[in-house]
Symmetry: C2
Subunit: 330 residues, 2 copies
């Protein structure tokens, strides 16, 4: 894989949602690279912000607790930034069906607020936005490439699609360098493990480390692809490349696994454990998307990105992290 | 054309945005058909609500001034309705770029509020939602059918696309009968004529009636298709047909005209008048979609809808209306 297009040393970088799983890991990488990093996070209880995620790097970056809708504070943050990695947002599909207006605020109003600040900034920052494969809905074909129809099956997917469209629109309308990555299941150390609102795999990790059986919902035959956090971070850094400007690019892995295969890999990586296969809860079943496999061919060809961490290794690293740090995350 | 699938006599019908151009004309038709009609309108200054639109039928219907986001009032309105024609919304492309958060409230928060009320209603109403061809953005091919990619070029298009997706999602998720019509340029008596925020053609009508020259923006070669209001109303009434459930269907006319041809037809229909061709204002140019022609084949095949009013006749009727009633609309 090629390295990032930009040497971030001494560059001013803003990471929104920077206390979350992906944002905080990105912030760590940027700090290591010598960047001048500010993270902003609302610590909204519905999202994944957690101060444990910045353990050990607090002194090396600036942390601002603010909501992106706080336009006066946001203007100053944006004005000082050369790059913005925009990872703020609400990712729970099930929450979005129960509290759609809240999801609208967190995923649409907040993004518009950030983009308006960028439009009016003294110097225009480059933005990389974390989109999601959820916008495709139930795949019409596999693997799913970027020209697949946008047919979200939950309110979160509708709002994440709007968030992506805002970015591409502001990019072209106001000459803001923008790239969108459509993330699939991202996992690794610092992922959300408290409950299944964000991802089922986090709960599996917690149960395995705590020595309890976990549940597969459905029949275990569903296929999914996964991105280890380090590979997702590499993609985010690559996406500041001008060749990605105005593009929305899939992440993902063309080697999908069934949920049952994943469960067996997780048990093996843990050196033991057990699970049961149980029917879908009714509220989940109706927004489930079935099999999903991404086609990441576009980002591979454009930027040279490829996943490098095998699922076995990624699961082992994740379990090791929670064995050591779990008490900050349960 | 076949008649509506439903005899609306004595049925309780709610028309949102009912003081606007299309909503009020629909309300007139429903009153004439013997329906028990309630209209709700926020009279938001950015939208098109105007009491002049219900001149002469005020006593035959119930008018509620309320915002769809007023959940307590909305619940009672929805609970009493068998059919909802959902025409509320903000349609100005240029306003949406200047005040995107307001557009979000009027086109997304309001629609979510209505759909939540429908989901929780004692008896579920059937909904017909007025979408727009604006969601397609700059056409990749002509005529544009419903499988054309959704690539809005302004914030309004993004939010109208979300509004449409909410309807289809709530329809499938909560078993609410829903149909979406994607309207193209709708024109006729009671259209908005105050300024060019909603449609340029309204301004042309006003200038012609008032004896002033009007302006074509661009080079006059752009193609557009138009739907006369009576044809749009016919489509809305047809769309309660169960065969349209879960569908998003284009309106439009396969016989497009260039703006210059339209201007010449309007001058002829007015018995005189003049215009000039001037360059696009810069802020409009960047959100302009170029040529647009709809393919209305799906609604024709499914519901038997066809436009029946020729452009010459529709323009003449529109001009006649404003010659008589213009003082209420300027």
């Amino acid at each position: 894989m090629t390295g990032p297009a930009v040497d971030f040393r001494a560059h001013r970088v803003l990471v929104t949602g920077g206390l979350g799983f992906i944002g905080s890991t990105l912030a760590r990488t940027l700090v290591d690279a010598g960047a001048d990093v500010t993270i902003v996070d609302s610590l909204a209880p519905e999202c994944g912000g957690n101060y444990a995620n910045v353990d050990g790097i607090e002194a090396a970056l600036t942390i601002v607790e603010a909501d992106l809708r706080d336009t006066s504070r946001l203007a100053a943050l944006v004005d000082g930034s050369e790059f913005i990695f925009n990872l703020a947002g609400h990712t729970s599909h099930i929450d979005s069906m129960n509290t759609p207006q809240l999801d609208l605020q967190l995923n649409c109003a907040a993004q518009l607020s950030l983009l308006e600040a960028c439009r009016h900034a003294r110097a225009t920052p480059a933005i990389v936005f974390a989109g999601t494969r959820q916008i495709y809905g139930r795949p019409r074909y596999l693997p799913v490439d970027e020209s697949h129809p946008i047919e979200p099956v939950d309110v979160n997917g509708i709002h994440k699609a709007a968030g992506e469209q805002y970015h591409l629109l502001y990019g072209s309308r106001y000459d803001i360098p923008v790239a969108v990555l459509r993330l699939t299941n991202t996992y690794g150390p610092r992922m959300y493990v408290r409950d299944a609102r964000q991802t089922f795999l986090g709960v599996w990790m917690r149960e395995l480390v705590q020595g309890r059986p976990f549940e597969i919902w459905g029949d275990g035959a569903q296929r999914r692809d996964f991105t280890y956090i380090d590979d997702a971070i590499a993609a985010l850094l690559l996406a500041v490349d001008p060749r990605a400007n105005g593009r929305a690019l899939n992440l993902g892995d063309e080697r999908p696994v069934t949920l049952k295969e994943l469960a067996d890999l997780a048990v093996a990586a843990n050196g033991g454990g057990s699970y049961s296969i149980v029917p879908f809860p009714e509220d989940r079943k109706r927004i489930d998307i079935g099999d999903y496999v991404a086609d990441p061919g576009a980002i591979r060809e454009l930027l040279g990105w490829n996943p490098t961490i095998a699922l076995e290794d990624g699961l082992a690293r994740t379990l090791a992290f929670y064995r050591e740090h779990g008490e900050r995350y349960w």
